[in-house]
Structures are given as C-alpha cells and as structure tokens.
Subunit: 348 residues, 4 copies
C-alpha cells in the first residue's frame, strides 16, 4: 500500500474543513489523523456533517489535543486572525497550508489596513508562499507555509497573471465583477445568509472596497514587476451554494485582438489538468465546475474597440479553497498534482 | 364607479401577459375586455396560469377575434417581429403599449442589424415614443404608440440618463454588468432554461454583443445630444425567477466625486413614486423590489480614482416590463402615475 | 375618506410583522399607528426591511412606548410564551389578533405539554376564539381576542373540518404529510436555516410529534362532537421561501366515493373568496397561491379502495399567518372579508 | 494495470447517461468504449455536457454505429418503450443493465396497463432480474439482463422489504409520500419543468396512480410470498435538482414497537457500504446523500398507537439510477460492490 502522509485539519467544522475531508478521503497518499475545532470539539464529524457519516473519521478534538508529533502536514481552516496565532506555535517540521487570509499579504501595513489589526506573526508572514498553484508551483514545492489564495483572487488571477506577463493588456482600468455562491460566507449563523434572505435575490456588497483586492493587486503588481496595479472589484452574492463567475473587463494594448489573449491563455495552460480554456464563443458557467478543481476560462472581444471581456469560473470551495489546498499539498509532497482531485463536476 | 378604459392584452399567455393581468386586475380605471393569444386560444386563463383562477377573466381568443371597436388601449406582448405586423393593422383610435422590441429602435438599419430582418412597419416606427416613463413622460402622454423599454435598458438608463445630462460623467468606458432572473427569457420550453440547468448556476450570454445595447446606446447618444455613446454590456442569468441587478462602472469628469452623482440622482428622482435613491452605503438588492414597480439605485465611490460604481435594481417583469407598461398607460390616459401600481414588494 | 381603524403591530420585525405591513399598507380601513419590536426598537422599518422603504411608516418603538389609548386593534406577532404575558396587560378596549400559538389551545394541560411551560394567562385563554376564518367567523366577529391559527393547521383543517362534519370520512387513520417553505421558521439566525443548508435539501423534522398536532386534533375533536381524534402529522421543509402543501390521506366511510368529498367541499366553499376547490384532476401547487390569501384544495380517489387523498395549498405567510389575521380583522370590525386582501398571486 | 471491462452507454445524452460517465470515469475496471445517442450523435460529449470537458471520452455515435463485438457490458438509458426494442437486438454475449422501466415488470398485462402499449420483448422480460442490489444480489450476479429499479421504488423498497420479511408490519395501509428533485423528469424541454415554474413551488402529480406503484407492489407482493400488497403512493416535485425523500407510513403488527423495526433494518444493513440506518432520532435529509450512492434511513414511533414512520433518502441520479447501475455492474462482473462508488456526498 502507498505511503500516506499523516495530516491534521484545524477548523474542521467549517465548510472548507468538511470539503477537505471529502477530497482527502479519496486521496491515496494522505491520511486524516486529526480533526480539530473549537466549538464542536468532542463530537463525531457525522454529528456536525451528516453527509460524512459513511466515512471512518477521527473524533473532533480541541486544538490543544492535536498530537503534533504524529502530523506532517496541516490544513488550517481557522478564521482570519486566529490562524496566525495558532500557526506561529506549530512545530517547525510540520508543513502548513493555511486557507485563511492571514499569510497572503506580504506587506504588514496593507494587512493591517484591510484586516483591522496588526499582524501577530510577522516573521512567518515573510516565509509564506502564495499558493496559486499553477503560477507559483516552484516556490510552493519547497515552502513550509503556503498561504492558500482567496476564492475571488483565484478566479481572477489565473487569467490575469499570464495576460499581464504577455504585455498585451493595459495595467489600468481592470474591472472584476464577481458573482459568488453563498458558501463563501461560511457556516456562521447570520440573518443575512438565511435561505429566505438569499433566495430570489442578487446583492452586491463591499462595493468599491473588498478585502480581496489587496491580494489581487499584490499579485498583479508583482507580475507587473513592481508597477502598482489597481483594480476595480465588485463582489456579488447569487442564490446558489457553490461557484464563482468572474467577468473581467480589460483594455488591450493598441493593435492587440482578443483572440491573441485567448491564445496566450491556451498556450499557458495547455498541459494543466485543472485550468481549461473554452472553445471560442463558449462562455463557461459555474455548473460546469461544481464540485471539481477546475477553472474554466474564455476570452471575448468587446464591441467597444480595444476592449476584451474574460469569463472565469471556479467552485469556490474546491479550486477556490480546499481543492487548491490539496493541489498545493500534492506539490509540497511531490505527488502528481491531480492526486485525489479527479472528481468530475456534479451536474445537474 | 370610476370610468374604466377597456383594454386588450395580446400575447396574454406569456409571462408579461400574465403579469399585466395581475397588475390590471387591481387597477380602478382599466378593464380587461380581451385576452388574445395564439397557441392557447380557446382556453380559460386559469388553465394556462392557475394562479389567476380566482379572477373573473375573459376566455382567451385568437387575435382575429378581438373586437377592436370595444377597445381603447392594447398591451402588446407578442414576440419581436410578430408585434410590428399586428400593430400595423390596428385601428388608429386604439392606443398601443408595445412590450416587444419592435418599435424601440428608431434607425431601421440598426434594427435590422440586431434583429436580423428588415422592419415591416417603418411608418409606425417613426411615430413610436420610447416609454422610459420617468424620462419621456411628456412625449408618452400624447403618443399613440409607446415602445415599452427592455428590462436591462430600464435598469441602466434610469441612473445613466440624468448623470449624462449633468455632464459629470465620461461618455466613454461605461460598463454595464447585469444579472437577471430567468423569467426574462419567457415561458418557451428551452432545455437551457430547465430548472436543473439554471439552478446552482451563473452564466453569461451574448458576451460582447447583446441586442439591448442598441436600445441603451440610442438613448444615451440622444441624451449626449448626438455624440455617439458606446457601452460595454454583459448580461448574466442567475438562479432566480425575477429581478435584475445592474452594476455600472463609470469614469467621472475630473474633479467630480461620487457623492455628487448620488445627489444628482436624488434631486432628479425626489418626487418620483417608483425610483428611489438609497441612503449612502446601502447597496440595493433585487429582493427589495420583487413584485413592485420600483427601481432602487445607489452610487459608490470606487477605490480607483475618478471612478464610480452604480448599483440599480428592478423587477424585470414589473418596472422592466408590465409595471412600466401600466405606468405608461396611466400617463397616456391621464391617471395618476401610480394608479394600480401600489403593490408592496413581496419579501421574503 | 373612509374611516380607518388605528392598529399596532407588536413584533413588527419578524416575517409575519413585515407581511402585515405589506397587506395593511393597501387596506383602506386600517392605519398602522405603531410598530413595536424588541431588538430593533428605534430603527426605521426600512432599515430592517428595505423592501418597505417606499412606504410611509412609523419608526419602530419598544413595546412599552406604544400609546394604547390611540389603538383599537393590535396584531401580535411576538414569540410563543412572550405573547401571553404582553396580551394579558393590554387595555380591555383593544381588540387583539394574536399570531402566536399562545391562545390556540384551550386545555391548559395540553398547552403545557406541547409548549413546555404553564400558561400564564389562563383567564384570557378561555376567552380566545380560534381564528380559522371560514369555519368560526360567527365567533370571531364578536371576539376581543382571536388566536390566529398555525400555518400547518390552516392548510389541513380547511378541507378536513367540512368532511368530518359530513360524516363521510373515518375519524381515525388521518395522515397529514406537509411540505413547507422555510419562512415558517422565522427570521432568527439559525445555522440549520442558512441558504447553503436548505438549498438542494428536503428534510423532515419533529417526526411523530410536532406541536401543531395539538391544534389540529383539538379542532377535529370539537368537530367530531367530542370524540377524540388523533392524527399523524409530518412536517417537512423544502427549499423555497413561502408555501405549504399538505397531502392528506383519509379513509372514507364504506360506500363513499372521493368525488362526494370533493362535492362537499365545493358546496361548503362555493361563495368563499379565498378557498377554492380545483377542477377535477388538477393538483394545486404552492406557486398558485404565492403572496395571496388563498387556499386551493382538491380531492383524489386513491387506488387503494376506500381511500382518498387531499392536496391543499396556502402561502404560509398569508392565509397561514398575516393574511388570515387581516381577514379576521375584517370580520371583527365588520368590513367585507376580502378588504385589502385582493392581492393576486405573484407568479412566476 | 487492472483489466477494464469495455462498456457502452446507450442514451448517453440524458441525465442518467451523463451521471454514468461521471461515475465510470473513476472506475478502475470499466472503460467507456462507446457513447451512443439519437439526437446528439456526431457531437462531442463536452458539447452536450460541458462539465465533462476535462475527460477523454469517445465521440457520441448513433446507435447502429456501436461496435458490439468490442463491448462486454451496456448501460441502457433509453426511454421506456425504446429500450425493449434495442435490447432485444443486442448480441447474447453482451450483459445489460437497463435503466428504463421496460424490464422491471414481470407481468405483461401489468406492464401494458401502466405503460400503455404491449411489451415487445416478452422473452427477455422473463429473463430480466430486478436490480435492487442489496436485496437481489445473488440473482443479479448471474443475470444477463438487469432491470435497474426506479428511483422512487429504490427509496421505498430498501426499508420496506426487510420489514415485510420480518412479519412485524401490516401488509395493508402502507402509504409512501415521496418528494423528488426535478432531474427525475429528465432533460427534455418541457414548459412545466422550466426554472421559473419549479422554483418556489411544490407540486404533487399522478396523485392516486403513478407508474412506479406497479414496481413497488410487485416487489412487496413477492416479498409477502404472493399475498397481493397494495400501497398508496404520492410523488411530489420540490425545487431542487437531486434527491428523493420518502416518508413512509406503516401499521405495525400488534405489540411491535418502532424501535424493533429500526433494529431489524440495522441488522439487515449493518455490513452494507451504501445503506445506513441513522442514529435514533436523526431524520436523514437529501443533502446528506447528494452525489453519493447512499440510502440513509430511519424509523420513528408515531403518536398514533401502533403506527411507525420511516424516512428514507437517496440521490435519485445515483442510488436511484446510475449509481445503482454501476453497483449492479460490479456485482455482475465480480468486482467489490463499491468499486468506483466511493464518492463522498457533495455538501453544501
């Protein structure tokens, strides 16, 4: 039998924790040794998530009860803020994939501005590698601490980074209009996320200033070799559980056609198992990636001259969170990148 | 008892026809004399729409059976193309509110380009008044033929026309990213609109070139006193029955702040019963206008300097179709504009 | 102008409170003088329910601030338990429609068994009239305190009471399998009612013992002239906001056919504005009554000899709560029973 | 590498065909050699089902083009009626799992009564084995032709067969009230299944007489050793894609308690990978089995003496169709029964 890496999931009782259990339970080289959570410590996972009842899982424990000497890798699904404190205390030999925002922002002032408090593990922050798998896999491979990207940034950066690298698009005036299912908000009991409030509704939130722009702009600015890139980003919630569709509006460098952008992306991702460029004219939609680790992308010529429109879709809980986390785990431990991630999208 | 205008609804078996029945059944000055439809002629309305069973309605007849001598006003809900042929044959004393796109475009070449066939009632096309009630009510008042606006254009033009009039926004680079419920596609049995295909999905369509841009650009260009305005418009379908949320991205003239735009709109609409500017910071959502003839709007400052973001919501079947049609009927016949339109939004 | 009864709504920030505002805002003989609530006291109603923004409503006050000397009728939407304490303190000249369960059960032991605490207003409990409008309108007319029925009981009792009165159905073996939208659970922030938990799910709850059986059995037993009737009742939540569909399984007295049951109901309700018996073979569904005060019913012959199946649908927030409350208000104050209740169902 | 059985899927462009592709694409011992369909012949599967784009699949061919000499097993997803004609012509060495209703009913008169036409492959009908895996696996093992059960019957029979075998429940008065997602109706473009018609609706259909009762009664009567069992069955559509929840009302033999029924089921299924009896008091819901081949069951004591209530949930496309088909394939070819079926439920 294949060797299995013993792993822990911290914050196992949130949606991304449960999704990690779903994905890892079919992973031939990972074994879930510990599930830890705060409020649900002491419970069976099946009490918290009845859909996992048929699996043989360890009982949920409190964080201090995790036996770190048995663990080689940890998926950290704790809330922003809590994550950095816990991670700072982990043994140095444990490799970490952090799904919170805590180690995504390299500049501590920027972190503090968007997250409202000073960073409490500045040393680690420097060490963290931004885990956008297809773009940074070389650095991820050797990282001890991977900051798993946010869901919105993943959907936007996978098309934008190669295009910016190509020099064919304008650095300014990029607009990202994103539509997300409601699981992005987590399992916390909030009135605004009750079924009766979300159903038959579309709403925009954090208009003109959502935290995820920090992450997007940091990556795009780095891609632009230091030129500060600023984007307009509007997140919207639509009545579905899973999925993000980002519609991205771009200006092209004079003389460039949208078909060229499509070709650049096709070339960039032609051997990738998870990122697929659609045939010309087909606009991907979120149902096509539901439950799978895919990002489906296409590029369209706008009627307005010199402008292009990109449509990019992911499942926010998979490629936008737990799936990309497993992909990073595979990179870090030298497994083929799609190990345990061959789930076909669940449609209808 | 108040005098009632005898009206006919052509194309009564589509969603906008049924919605007109809902609205007019509580209108004190309209009486539905004829319901006409092609495939459902001969049926009771309750067979086609069981939710209307408790109403006392005439049986559906075929179009040639409508007794035009009894009718003073007609709501025409026929498909694009069919509408112009029928309307060309109506008696001159019948006043018409056409919910199709047939008389919205003044330029026949533009019509032909977007709708794929030459216009067959060019004379009437000149006579038609574009029925965006709050903007063109003076012309609507005396019109024989009102071209009721499309749902997407209504949501976009109500904020954009006054802002363009103000001279505070740039004429170029306007981007309208719209999210619509599925009733905009009508009741035709299409595989792509089955529940299992729409549920848990967000999809973009006609990316880079949807017919409604013709209508939007015609109105904005007229507002700009002839300068040709071009917009970027992306429609998207989200899993809900009713509602459109348009997110509009604008550049402001240098030195203008987004708060000024908000004030312009507030001033423009302060006495309007149906268009409401939200308090600063509140992003309206579609559930707030579900079933009502409202358009709720707000303006936000973008982080990118000199840019503003507008969020505008309507119910596509009410203010985006049948409600605005009744509003235009009220204008044409001299009734207070909100007569029969005092439905409160149905939430949750 | 018509005289308007000054009314108060206690518990205005719940779903049934907001629905009362929607219905009463178009009622020609009611005027909302006070909106009271606990946690939202001090706020504008539009802050709590943005869909009511276009209405001119009083600011929400705390319960002690209601000026009772100005009020003639109160709609009480407080939680079970809280209701009885507040109502016991109201001035005797105020007439009360209580939407909680507090005064529905006449037997104090039965109340205590199902609601877990002794009743604290036993005197009033005797005085209360069960507000199933079509059945008890004579008593409702003169009542000071009307106990508005539960949503499940309304959907089940409207068909069952006349059938039991007819002597054509067996008193035992009645099974009510009910499917409800999620607004029946109120607006409280509960994890189990988050969108992502309810969407794409059907769940049964309180299987074998839901509180509403007390109310159903009390009414059926009274109808059976004291013979104790016991029913099987299973409530289920389906992913929609509004609506209850009750499927009721009956045994008929030997020799009776299901068509006879249908005729009994047709005769019983032929002049009722809100209760409609469907044409033979048509199974009503919840979309047909969405937003309206209707109860649509039909009776079907089962294949199993001697058995019939009834399908009964209501909107839980209208005929199942606030609509029936307004209907009872109309009965109590001598207005035509459908005053302010002519909303047509909102479909699609 | 493990030996793979070459398989064909006929009717590949329906939902059950696409679901078979999803499940078989991760099956180590099956290889999809042919995908056949009528209307979509000539297309890539990704054109018909974009969510399958990342898979390497054969192009869809017309039925006559399938190379039967290369095929050892066929999954037949053709419509009722068409299936029997095609299957009658297949080579004798090909083993067949038929997902239609064509070979589920052994009595040809019963078939003709419910399906409206004489059976056209009577010889094969006798040969067919009813593929309720957990109950008939011994016969399935050696069958050439397996009639895969209907979705409603699967959810009802898995609890009912062992209970009937136990002699603890009454043979008469069984009532099955089932709630289904809309995919059970297939992908055909029907107005009644449009999103806007299904959303915010619950509807009953075929009340008092749905085809699936034939299948349920045949199996229960066989279990009752020939005593003719008659059931009451009401199917209902709820607004979700996948899932069936069956609420089953039973009378117990005098002296029996519901806990005994639960124990019987627990004993019956204790070693089964897919059928799970829930802990006492937990009512399973459809989200717990979404996308997985599970059937989750529990038994409840009713308040009415001597009565029990069973709640049983499956995913109609998995255990109710394609998943059980793969399970039967595993049984027929001697693979462990859960091969390729270890998908964890996708929640939320």
């Amino acid at each position: 039998m294949a060797k299995r890496i013993p792993v822990a999931i911290l914050g196992a009782s949130g949606y991304t924790g449960a999704e990690l259990v779903r994905l890892l339970s079919n992973h031939p080289h990972a074994e879930i040794i510990s599930l830890a959570a705060e409020t649900n410590a002491g419970k069976e996972m099946a009490e918290v998530y009845p859909h996992l009842r048929a699996l043989d899982l360890p009982r949920i424990v409190a964080l201090p009860e995790v036996k770190w000497n048995e663990i080689q890798a940890v998926f950290c699904c704790l809330p922003h803020g809590a994550s950095q404190e816990i991670i700072a205390q982990l043994p140095r030999n444990v490799r970490i994939i952090d799904l919170s925002a805590d180690f995504r922002i390299y500049d501590s002032a920027t972190y503090e501005k968007w997250y409202g408090h000073p960073h409490m593990a500045l040393g680690l922050q420097k060490e963290a590698v931004y885990g956008l798998s297809e773009i940074y896999r070389a650095a991820i491979k050797n990282a001890r601490l991977v900051a798993n990207p946010g869901c919105y940034p993943t959907s936007a950066l996978l098309p934008l980074v190669p295009l910016m690298n190509s020099g064919k698009i304008s650095l300014d005036g990029i607009i990202i209009d994103a539509k997300s299912g409601v699981t992005g908000a987590g399992r916390k009991a909030l009135q605004e996320n009750l079924f009766a409030e979300i159903n038959e509704d579309v709403r925009a939130y954090s208009v003109g200033g959502h935290r995820h722009v920090a992450e997007i702009e940091q990556t795009l600015s780095a891609t632009a070799l230091g030129t500060k890139v600023m984007v307009t980003f509007t997140p919207q919630v639509v009545p579905m559980n899973r999925g993000i569709l980002s519609t991205i509006y771009l200006k092209m460098v004079p003389g460039v056609a949208a078909t060229e952008l499509r070709e650049i992306l096709e070339l960039q991702y032609e051997n990738e198992p998870f990122v697929k460029i659609m045939p010309p004219g087909h606009a991907p939609s979120t149902r096509e990636v539901r439950g799978a680790n895919h990002c489906f992308i296409n590029v369209f010529e706008d009627r307005a001259p010199g402008r292009a429109i990109i449509v990019s879709v992911i499942d926010n809980l998979v490629k936008g969170a737990s799936g990309q986390a497993v992909q990073n785990f595979n990179i870090m431990f030298g497994f083929p990148e799609d190990t345990g991630l061959n789930q076909v999208a669940v449609f209808p």
